[in-house]
Symmetry: C2
Subunit: 422 residues, 2 copies
């Protein structure tokens, strides 16, 4: 936590997009942004002390004494909460990108030693300092694109030593830069090469030793599994996630990305915090998810980058009343982008989410999936002053002007962590 700063009055918010209201947002309410025109915020000791129309906030006694920040007419909303990233990896996979363009499938590349296993090999060779510096560059870019909190998964170590290396890098990064990083243990990303002929031995190792050790060390908050053909079966996933729950790690799950396996139903059964991907869900899955509090975290960057047209059925999920979130899935194989504005553009143009639905799905709902909706995800009194300002006339222009970054300022707990004028 940075040291306390003087009270700060922020004005010049032509649209102050507060996202005040019920948590989580579901169904028709998803797009309720609770916008205040010409709004203002009073920030005190890292938190929002007051929020409302400028004239009202300015009148407060503490506002008159506070330092002033006039944004001069910007759209301001809660900082993006990116609830699915694979932040820690050693290098890009641009060569594989070209192979895929030339016709190889994700699964073909994986079978020929590319894909996740290639990154695992390189990560095992990389030092903690290399991994940290690589991640720090990207964290600055996350902040520059308006993200203030992100989840980060392990899963490129796939042995105890290297998974621990990632978890410790994440712990270091939490201390050394301003963004909140929420750690998730994904020892079940793929079956490590060493266990290829006996995957259940790896599952047992996870369940009996690694997951309890991670939980005991307090190095992760969530436990995740990639349940898919070529990764882990639903039965294995259940075993792993239940082991996590038993020691206090709430479940998240990579579900139904390339095939329908039943993983989304497992998420519902376990009351998982989030089920992610969902490109291949069916109607019954949609009904089950909508009847639950499991957040449906959609990752359109992945379909885009792989050149697939298998976007998750966002409209059907919203219509059914599910809790929908959006995230980057930042990773070197299938979605190498840090930009939540880009994810919003994809959600709007490719999945037909409205700009308001996309914005709620990128702030309050992912905050709920990370169990932080009490302190971030909306601009409410008492929550942290985590916010992003955009140099646009209307919030709809954030996804509209696609492929460019119009974020002019990002604030984390009342401290400016990115500014175009810096």
């Amino acid at each position: 936590m940075p040291p306390p700063v003087a009270d700060l009055l922020i004005t010049g918010c032509s649209q102050l997009v507060t996202l005040q209201g019920p948590v989580p947002r579901r169904g028709r309410a998803l797009g309720d942004l609770a916008i205040i025109d010409d709004g203002a915020l009073l920030v005190s000791n890292h938190r929002i002390r007051a929020v409302g129309p400028r004239r009202q906030v300015e009148r407060l006694r503490d506002a008159r004494r506070a330092e002033k920040l006039d944004l001069g007419g910007q759209v301001v909303h809660p900082g993006f909460v990116d609830s699915h990233t694979h932040l820690i990896f050693p290098a890009s996979r641009a060569a594989e990108y070209e192979q895929r363009i030339c016709g190889k499938t994700y699964e073909q590349i994986a079978r020929s030693g590319g894909g996740i296993r290639l990154t695992v090999k390189a990560l095992r060779r990389a030092s903690p300092a290399q991994l940290k510096n690589h991640a720090l560059e990207f964290l600055r870019e996350f902040a520059a694109h308006g993200t203030t909190t992100l989840e980060a998964k392990t899963g490129y170590g796939l042995d105890w030593k290297n998974e621990l290396k990632i978890l410790k890098v994440l712990a270091d990064l939490r201390q050394q830069q301003p963004l909140d990083i929420v750690p998730t243990f994904l020892g079940a990303h793929v079956v490590p090469s060493e266990f290829r002929t006996r995957p259940d031995a790896w599952v047992n190792l996870l369940v009996e030793q690694l997951i309890p050790a991670v939980a005991k060390a307090g190095l992760a908050e969530f436990c995740d599994v990639f349940s898919e053909r070529g990764a882990f079966t639903v039965t294995q996933a259940a075993k792993i996630l239940e082991a996590g729950q038993a020691c206090g790690l709430a479940p998240r799950i990579h579900a139904e990305q390339l095939s329908n396996t039943g993983a989304a139903r497992l998420a519902v059964k376990l009351q998982a915090a989030s089920s992610d991907h969902l490109e291949k869900i069916n109607r019954a899955d949609i009904r089950a998810l909508a009847a639950s509090n499991v957040v449906c975290t959609l990752l359109p960057g992945c379909s885009f980058h792989l050149g697939l047209q298998n976007y998750a059925p966002a409209r059907e999920l919203i219509a059914a009343g599910a809790v929908v979130a959006l995230a980057t899935d930042f990773n070197p194989g299938t979605s190498p982008t840090v930009s939540m504005p880009m994810i919003l553009s994809l959600a709007c143009t490719q999945m037909r989410m409205t700009p308001s639905e996309a914005l709620a799905a990128a702030t309050i709902n992912p905050a709920y999936s990370l169990r932080r909706h009490g302190c971030i995800g909306s601009l409410d009194v008492g929550k942290y002053a985590d916010l992003a300002a955009f140099d646009v006339a209307d919030y709809r222009e954030i996804p509209y002007y696609f492929g460019v970054n119009l974020c002019s300022m990002t604030m984390k707990r009342g401290v400016i962590v990115h500014s175009k004028k810096m």
Copy 2:
């Protein structure tokens, strides 16, 4: 032309992507980038004096005396040439974007008074200063994304007074900022509301008065037509483009975007500089285009932003030996992006162009379509020192890291016009 500057030696180009070789690039040769590892450039009086491996260029006598710019390991390529933009417009159409997401088609919006005609109404009310300042903001962003030359069309004025207003704004902008702007007269963008019941009267006015007047005043280099259902027929397009040719304006044409009309064949018949869009071309069109020197300018931003899956058949065009280029189609209705890196990402993931093909299609081939291949589009001795540096390890990472801008420096005629460190 800015004043002469001291000779400049540029080193630290881990990949110097020169694009040296035949012009235009077609077929298999499209992806020939002629990369020099650890390359260097000597710039003298705005132009490239020497280009080659660092050790070789450094040894030149003038290089030793020159100012030094060490980029410290960046990928450097010719500045992007964006050969299709509608730069001059007064405001975004973000509300229409939302309507389209909610299910209205481009043509439905146009019929209900939205679309191009909405921008025409607003442009007629806007002052030249307003239009210029709006464009200047975007020009800075074009430069920040690595573009050094762009084409700009009229077509939101649609009467003599307002088309002339746009042309004069473009002429002013050429003087007041560093990027090259190539003006195209697009009086035939849509039929103006005043002529809706008698489109041929507008065509006659264009042919007999406006086109000759524009050419005489030296305000445009090219003449363009939007040939489409609801815009101009192929017969009308032929009349307009022939009138342009008769007074020295080379033809460009918006062809086969929403339906197959025969416009691509007209482009071949007239030996047009460029035929743009081509989403709906058929096999015979592809053969005809491939046998010509007409540049096939593909605009994937448009299909993306409209949420359509009708990308132009880039692979078939390349296989047939056509001259393929990429452009943003920057405009408020169908492609509000200034980012050529984003267009490269779309070309790679959605049209299966390789990163090398996409890069050639964004530099040397559009330079050819703008008849400027003698002075820009590749890093050759004697050409202008127009270049873009990217903070990546490999040129393939430029499209790979999608939705973010990794351009660290843009140079126009030897002068730095954008720098992340500025």
